[in-house]
Symmetry: C2
Subunit: 489 residues, 2 copies
């Protein structure tokens, strides 16, 4: 039999893949997924299996798995449900270690499907094969150029792993990650989880050097106790950000018919999160905001937050959000106020949030941030609006394309330098610095170019003040789990 | 004395503007705002007032307001605080009907500033002049090409009016509106509200033919009773979507030093919203989502929602969100199920959400929507994912620029047609149709071009299923206020 490690290696780093149910008909999943795999740049051997074809999308086709001239590591299975157990049998006989079962029509459609699903799993386990799915939209392993999935979405390699009990939600999360300029280490649409459960993927990802943060969407747990025990261990190694649906009766009903999930109560899940160190997100946007925001940040030792803002209203919104999320907006001690007095204009508000709104020099934002980071009663700092740190340039009366191009390039350069400076300070003081800022020049493809420039260095930026508070609260929650009693506040 | 109508006409449709404190120094607000006004395309007369200059940014400058060769309708005031009451005096003497006081340093900085502010208001009221501000970042009236504001942000004309007690938040809201492809009828940064309060702007906007929805950010109320009485009347004419901050102690403290606001409790505000028909938003993104989403939608007669989804997980998330926001996910009656049975594949889930995930024809999404709209126990429909209605096109192995351009153009054309079809159905059945969908081809400037194409027709599209529920809940809340006892559920 194969050990778990070699099975997962076969799943995510296959040297050869059997594609059972590959097709030349462009609208069939057996065609679309194979095409995505090729577009994605997979560099191993591909063996389409389809007795009706001699060649599929340029690859020699095989009548049966038995006919493939080597032992494939991985099988992708897209044949109709009734044929799946037989295909799994043939894979086991061949020595295939892992399978991705795309096919739907199992436990989610009723008792007959459930029986078929059980048969499939029994065969796989007897033969030493792990299975993803069924009723899933695939897997991706961007660092290995492996894109075996329904949607034509190709996240670049990165540090974020996505595990979701819904293919569409998995894709939605991946799209948000890409939009933020980040990439994925792994993408798993876990489907009905007949064999591997989400907690099995977590265990793999906990020791996966490509992964820094795990993002997971769950509709229900196959085995609540096992999930809890495993995720508690995983959280000690890496943060898990989780979105749980099905907490209302209507949602639970929809989840049952979707992936045959038993949803469980919201309260029970909140307890699981608290005890297992899981950072809970309430929707997909929150999930990606938290996951991209916490990458590379030092963990706070308490919940006392300093806020530097380039706009009064943003400061009010962030202060409200911090308190509502369980953080404290720190009272600044006299010596910190005196330090700020030494360079801020006389009419500054002398409080936290530190409102920089008027009469500033370009370096004052960074200096204010550093004063707060140095302050002993502050555990982390939120910066709202980097505009004061940008060089001033009057708005031209006419916007030429040449001006736009030059301005975009110079702005991106300056903004990246500001982020690098903030990152360096966060590391030096061992306190997280979370930035929320709108960008003053949203013309052309400025925003997507900036996201890529920042995301590539592991830096996230959100336009909403509340998002910065959300990330900080997530970091604090996770730190409390990791540091335990060693927290200050 | 001038009546309120002519004062507001002077404010938003001035034929001539005095710019008191105009400057040639590029970093001064007196230069930046004047420049923005010119860039924005204001076509009336501009009279810079500055005794030290002969010409400012190409305009003849005047030593005093008295020297201007006509009576300006509006005065923009950016001189230091101590000089503002005198400037207001001079404006009144000249016969100016309205002023925008950008200058800060009044009630928000303490008792001395408060006294100065009172003096300024007393003079203005004596002279029959209305004042915006002080401590604000300006006003915009895009339908009149009037952009008198600090940030270089130029929302196109549209149906959304923004009134905010924070200039930065006002700008943040405007940026979100533009990103959604929509435009503004009015933009008011109300600052300290020394003279005009937000409820005065609401009253103007209630009868303003350019405005369909009012978006408002408030930190506190100058006169709670007056606010409540006015907004209750305004809500009968137009929906007001409101974000209120300062509900925590830390937030209230920040609000006091920001715009001298008394924040008041969250619970009291919730009560005000319920009794005055205000649609409450919890952050800026929610605000813009709701405001853009409700434009042009028929009001629902009850809270029973139908959901058509192209992805199971999205359906679960939307069902949860509907229930959490006080809506019902309707149980489909037998004849509706039978109608859906007649064209959906045998394995469809036979429930609400209607999950279209497999084996569809392109027209099945529209047909399913229409079946739900026809269903007598459904008051509104949420559509999640328009992908099934798009023509299938296999992913090319290499993406050329020519392919991308052609694909973007053809996709936008098809998507606009789908939206037009949905809009027509919503009108025909008198029930709202809210669409949340990701877009299958997020390459190049596809998303911003699509936003502009859709926003220009008053159509909004959000990627998150919860956003559709949020818009529907907002519509339902507003409908309950407008229809009163005449609601079904």
């Amino acid at each position: 039999m194969f050990d778990r490690e070699s099975q997962f290696r076969a799943l995510f780093h296959p040297g050869a893949v059997a594609f059972i149910g590959a097709s030349n008909k462009p609208r069939k999943w057996g065609s679309i997924i194979l095409n995505n795999m090729v577009v994605g740049g997979y560099s191993g051997r591909i063996y389409p299996v389809n007795p009706a074809e001699a060649e599929i999308q340029g690859f020699k086709a095989y009548a049966g798995i038995v006919d493939i001239p080597e032992i494939p590591d991985l099988a992708v299975i897209v044949v109709p449900p009734a044929a799946v157990p037989g295909a799994v049998d043939a894979c086991c006989a061949k020595g295939v270690k892992a399978g991705v079962v795309i096919t739907a029509g199992f436990a989610e459609v009723g008792p007959d499907g459930a029986k078929l699903q059980e048969e499939m799993v029994r065969k796989a386990r007897l033969g030493g094969m792990i299975l993803v799915g069924p009723n899933c939209n695939g897997i991706m392993r961007p660092p290995a150029n492996l894109y075996i999935a329904m949607p034509p979405v190709f996240p670049p390699p990165g540090k974020l792993a996505v595990v979701a009990q819904s293919g569409n939600v998995a894709t939605s999360i991946a799209r948000r990650i890409m939009k933020a300029g980040f990439g994925c280490s792994c993408f798993i649409s876990s489907g009905n989880e007949a064999d591997l459960h989400c907690e099995d993927y977590f265990s793999f990802l906990a020791d996966d050097p490509e992964t820094e943060v795990i993002l997971s969407y769950v509709e229900g747990f196959r085995d609540g106790r096992r999930f809890f025990d495993k995720v508690r261990e995983v959280s000690k190694k890496k943060p898990v950000v989780m979105l749980k649906s099905g907490s209302t009766e209507a949602g639970a009903k929809a989840a049952a018919s979707h992936t045959a999930s038993l949803a469980g109560s919201d309260l029970a899940f909140e307890g699981v999160c608290a005890q297992a160190g899981v950072i809970r997100a309430m929707d997909m946007d929150e999930m990606v905001t938290i996951a991209t925001g916490i990458i590379g940040q030092p963990l706070p030792r308490g919940k006392r937050i300093g806020i530097v803002t380039a706009g009064g209203g943003w400061g009010v919104l962030a202060a409200d959000a911090c308190v509502k999320m369980g953080l404290d907006v720190a009272n600044l001690p006299d010596d910190t106020l005196a330090e700020l007095d030494s360079f801020l204009p006389a009419w500054w508000n002398r409080g936290n949030p530190v409102d920089l709104v008027a009469g500033l020099k370009q370096e004052d934002l960074g200096t204010s941030l550093e004063v707060l980071l140095r302050c002993p009663v502050i555990d982390g700092v939120i910066v709202l609006g980097i505009m004061p740190a940008l060089p001033f340039e009057p708005m031209p009366r006419v916007l030429t394309q040449e001006y736009i191009d030059r301005r975009i390039a110079s702005m991106i350069k300056v903004i990246v330098e500001i982020y690098d400076q903030f990152t360096e300070m966060a590391r030096r003081y061992g306190k997280p610095v979370i930035v929320s800022s709108e960008m003053p020049f949203s013309v052309g493809d400025f925003e997507s170019r900036l996201s890529i420039a920042l995301g590539g260095r592991g830096c996230a930026c959100y336009p909403a003040p509340e998002d910065a508070a959300l990330v900080m609260a997530g970091l604090h929650r996770y730190a409390r789990y990791v540091h335990g009693d060693d927290m200050r506040g």
